[in-house]
């Protein structure tokens, strides 16, 4: 009596699983991205599904390493993946992503030439990543703590902010931030000792190491911090969406810039759907709505940026040629460098204990 019931149960499970697998292949677009980063906005997903008949299934990662692990261990599951341009090289070398036929993406022609032609995304004349948005890791301030916004990165070291400074718990970001503070090229750091000394003197100023947008916003909301490193899109979201007294500062010493791009993993079961989704994401209409409703980084699509109001932050400040001169785009980092940066960062965190 017992065994047949167990068999029945197993059969039912098997049938159910098969049914799920079959259902999954019917025009679904599986998207892998950061959570709360445009591609999972319900209004955008609904509009895309209505327009194209594809169903969007979102999945998320919490770090670039996790993103790579997810594509490595689930071949064929994802159709679209959002990859920071600095990681595109590695993903391509590991044969995780495939070339994209840009002729199927009508909006690709409007992407600014310097982004679309980025050597980080194009290999051997083939496009492995479609530039989506770019932004900065700069400083953001709690407006309540400043009469006039600071202009220099040195503000982070000012003793009057002691215990009210935050920095992201990320070795690469911290080291590159140290490189900017010591006037070096973030992609070719010559004087690592100077970076270490500079960051060592910053550590006693620090309240905590943030890891998510939510951490940052909570601390500003409860007025616990004055200044810290922050992402430009997040600062915009904090102000627009959460109505927090946050403003972004692009210090005169410069800032770290990153470029996010969409790729199609090898083995995608719905390449057409993926192309349609990527085209939707770089469309001016989606971008303007994203900026207005939620707050976003700067689109790589020039027409999309032009569709914003004249005085919009993403157009006026981020589009300012003076700003363009100061920022440095992140280039790929080797695993050895990443581990060396982490060792340095951990040592700094231990020394301050």
């Amino acid at each position: 009596m017992r065994m047949p019931r167990l068999t029945a149960l197993l059969t039912a499970t098997a049938v159910f699983t098969t049914a799920l697998t079959l259902a999954a292949s019917a025009a679904e677009v599986h998207v892998l991205n950061w959570k709360g980063y445009g591609a999972d906005e319900p209004w955008a997903v609904a509009a895309f599904e209505k327009a194209t008949g594809n169903k969007v299934v979102n999945d998320f990662f919490n770090s670039e390493q996790e993103m790579l692990t997810k594509i490595r261990t689930n071949p064929g599951l994802y159709d679209v993946v959002m990859i920071n341009a600095a990681f595109n090289d590695q993903a391509m070398a590991e044969k995780l992503i495939q070339p994209i036929d840009t002729s199927k993406l009508p909006n690709y022609a409007d992407i600014s030439k310097d982004k679309a032609g980025s050597p980080m995304l194009d290999h051997d004349g083939k496009v492995y990543g479609v530039p989506w948005v770019w932004g900065l890791t700069a400083l953001a301030i709690n407006e309540k703590s400043f009469d006039n916004p600071p202009t220099s990165i040195a503000e982070m070291w000012d003793p009057k902010h002691k215990g009210r400074v935050v920095i992201r718990d990320d070795a690469v970001e911290a080291v590159q931030f140290g490189a900017i503070a010591t006037g070096q090229n973030i992609n070719d750091i010559k004087d690592m000792d100077a970076v270490k000394t500079k960051l060592t003197s910053l550590m006693p100023q620090i309240k905590t190491f943030w890891s998510s947008e939510n951490d940052w916003n909570q601390m500003v909301a409860s007025n616990q911090i004055d200044i810290g490193t922050y992402w430009s899109g997040s600062a915009d979201r904090a102000k627009t969406h959460f109505k927090l007294p946050v403003s972004l500062v692009i210090p005169r010493e410069g800032a770290v810039a990153w470029l996010d791009a969409f790729s199609i993993p090898v083995g995608s079961k719905n390449v057409e759907g993926a192309q349609a989704f990527i085209n939707w994401m770089i469309d001016p209409k989606f971008y303007v709505e994203w900026v207005t409703k939620v707050g976003a980084p700067v689109s790589a699509n020039t027409k999309a940026v032009e569709a914003l109001p004249q005085d919009a932050f993403n157009r006026k400040v981020m589009g300012d040629p003076e700003v363009a001169k100061r920022i440095q785009f992140q280039a790929p980092i080797t695993d050895a460098q990443r581990e060396a940066y982490l060792a340095l960062w951990q040592q700094l965190k231990v020394d301050v204990k």
Binding site: L68, A171, R338, A343, V350, K353
Partner: protein, 289 residues
């Protein structure tokens, strides 16, 4: 005689096998296999996942000794484990005594429920609740300033005490439960006998109650010490600048740089150290128990 008992125990084992099999099967599949994979990883130069070449190495274990960083953090984590265990005893033991010997019926159930409550809530929820309580301008700060005539400034958030508070809150139920079980088993007549023979309350506590409840104390301490030494979530969220511990460094290796081999090696060094500590302590503890 010896042979007889051996046969008896063997047949006992045979009849117990169907009862033990599911648990052992589960342990093999869910714990032993992944753990052996981790042992394997810890001797590799790279993960074979991404098609990269790899070789066997002792380098991951050597890394622990080549940098003072890991030893410093391991000592800090052991100290954290000791402090949290101590506070759990200080807070949990009296509570267990009251539950076992003083309270009866409804009130015991109610207090018991309060002790178990942290178990039913998600760990992250508990920690974030503490974050709201401990920060400057938070619940504790506001409440105390509303009551006290003078102004005090309480900002425990992002500090070592915050980590201790968060961890003690998470782990104190283990101490209460293990001590409660042994305290409840103490026959009241032993305590009464001690009292009637002229022992003071303190003497009864020292000579009767504590020795008899020692197994519970020891079990509770081991249950708390081991996970606290490897904890990473509480230090990271509550510790702020001071929240770097051995556990957070292991987490970084797995999550931030995808260096599973080093992360695994660091974990097994921790496991070895904890086992050595328990082995050294066991004669003392056994005598005490």
């Amino acid at each position: 005689m010896a042979a007889q008992s051996a046969t008896a125990s063997r047949s006992g084992l045979r009849s117990a096998l169907p009862l033990l099999a599911p648990a052992y099967l589960w342990l093999t599949v869910a714990i032993f296999l992944p753990l052996s994979a981790m042992v394997f990883f810890s001797f590799m130069t790279d993960l074979p996942l991404s098609g990269k070449s790899w070789a066997f190495t002792l380098g991951n274990y050597a890394a622990f000794f080549s940098q003072s960083l890991y030893l410093t953090l391991l000592l800090a984590s052991l100290r954290l484990g000791l402090e949290v265990t101590l506070w759990c005893i200080v807070i949990g033991y009296p509570a267990a005594y009251v539950l076992a010997k003083v309270l009866k019926g409804r009130s015991r159930e109610a207090i018991f429920l309060l002790v178990i409550l942290p178990f039913w809530s998600n760990g992250l929820v508990r920690i974030f609740s503490w974050a709201m309580v401990l920060r400057e301008g938070g619940i504790l700060d506001t409440a105390l300033n509303a009551v006290l005539p003078f102004k005090i400034n309480i900002d425990l958030m992002y500090s070592y005490p915050a980590v201790i508070i968060g961890l003690v809150h998470s782990y104190v139920p283990y101490m209460v439960l293990t001590c409660y079980l042994t305290l409840q088993a103490i026959d009241d007549s032993l305590i009464e006998a001690g009292r009637s023979l002229g022992a003071s309350r303190l003497q009864v506590l020292k000579r009767v109650i504590i020795p008899l409840s020692m197994p519970g104390l020891v079990a509770g301490a081991a249950l708390i010490f081991v996970p606290v030494v490897g904890s990473f979530m509480e230090p990271r969220i509550l510790g702020g600048r001071t929240g770097t511990f051995y556990g957070t460094v292991i987490e970084d290796q797995f999550v931030a740089v995808f260096n599973w081999p080093l992360g695994a090696a660091l974990s097994f060094i921790l496991l070895a150290v904890v086992l050595v500590i328990l082995a050294i302590a066991s004669p003392v503890l056994r005598r005490a128990a």
